[in-house]
């Protein structure tokens, strides 16, 4: 009989569906399946993208653009690689493109003081305040780096990923990652000393 509401049963079954099935559905053009996947991966993408955006609004836009790129690129996804890796690769490369395309505009902008921004969370403790100040200083130094170097420092030092993982996400060789990161850190240290900053 079809007079009963089957919504509850369906929902219970859907929670047991493996990720590969959600991916397969999304690849077939199921928008709901893709949104389901996007909801799962959003915190990770948000966390990575937040290192490149200058405001919460910009971050929201960047995150949405990254998901749109994934939606459009989904037919090219091959199931041999883990879906998470594919998602993060697209996110990192999307952030890199974002940095490159906005570089000129960003150079002309003044650094927004997050304390003045109403969107930012209030520092709950002295430790939070110290971390916020550290982030502001690092952000200032990162602004002086090339887009490629900035991506590397973000992945290696701020997201604390390994060299191999960083190389896989960016598509650059491990040697290239090591050499560029070394030079970028050197440049940051020099700039740090030159500006007379304090930790």
């Amino acid at each position: 009989m079809f007079f009963f509401d089957t919504t509850r049963t369906t929902r219970k079954v859907e929670t047991d569906i493996p990720e590969s099935e959600w991916v397969a559905r999304a690849k077939r053009g199921d928008e709901g399946a893709f949104v389901h996947l996007a909801t799962i991966y959003r915190p990770r993408i948000w966390s990575t993208a937040s290192r490149f955006a200058r405001s919460r609004v910009e971050l929201e836009d960047l995150t949405q653009d990254l998901f749109l790129k994934m939606w459009k690129g989904l037919p090219s996804y091959r199931s041999e690689a883990p879906f998470e890796h594919w998602v993060m690769t697209l996110a990192v490369r999307g952030c890199y493109d974002f940095l490159r395309s906005n570089r000129r505009r960003r150079e002309n902008e003044t650094v927004v003081d997050p304390q003045e921004s109403p969107d930012d969370p209030d520092p709950a403790s002295e430790r939070d305040q110290s971390r916020r100040e550290a982030w502001e200083t690092v952000s200032l130094l990162l602004d002086h780096l090339e887009a490629k170097d900035r991506v590397l420092i973000t992945l290696l030092d701020l997201e604390e990923r390994g060299v191999r993982e960083t190389a896989a996400l960016t598509g650059w060789t491990e040697t290239n990652v090591k050499v560029r990161a070394h030079r970028a850190r050197k440049k940051m240290r020099e700039l740090f000393d030159e500006l007379g900053l304090e930790p």
Binding site: E31, F34, V35, A38, T39, R42, P43, W46, S47, S50, R51, A53, S55, R56, L59, T63, Q64, F67, L68, W71, K72, P114, D119, D120, P121, D128, S130, R131, R132, A134, W135, T137, V138, S139, L141, I153, D157, L158, E159, E160, H182, R185, M188, R189, F192, L197, E198, P199
Partner: protein, 95 residues
């Protein structure tokens, strides 16, 4: 890396700070769905996506035309004038 430089401490501290807090979920799904629908591929997107396949399909046609022209040119009178006279015969109207 120079572990003694203050920059390392800074990076370590900055890594533990989330610049814009956590992602809010309010309206996320609706906004994403709307963006996905408004970003549906247009005709131009489809053409550009399959353009390389069209080029592969055009190759035999291109080879066929080249062979045909070469065969035709074997019986052509020499010079540009002869070529023009020959091709004018293919036009649907007289010049």
């Amino acid at each position: 890396m120079n572990p003694d430089h203050p920059l390392e401490t800074l990076l370590h501290e900055a890594a533990r700070f989330a610049p814009f807090g956590e992602a809010g979920n309010f309206g996320f799904e609706t906004r994403l769905l709307a963006a996905m629908r408004s970003a549906e591929p247009t005709l131009t997107d489809w053409v550009s996506r399959f353009s390389w396949r069209f080029s592969a399909a055009c190759l035999p046609v291109f080879i066929g035309i080249t062979v045909f022209l070469l065969m035709q040119h074997q019986t052509l009178p020499e010079g540009v004038g002869g070529l023009m006279t020959h091709w004018m015969d293919y036009l649907p109207f007289a010049i």
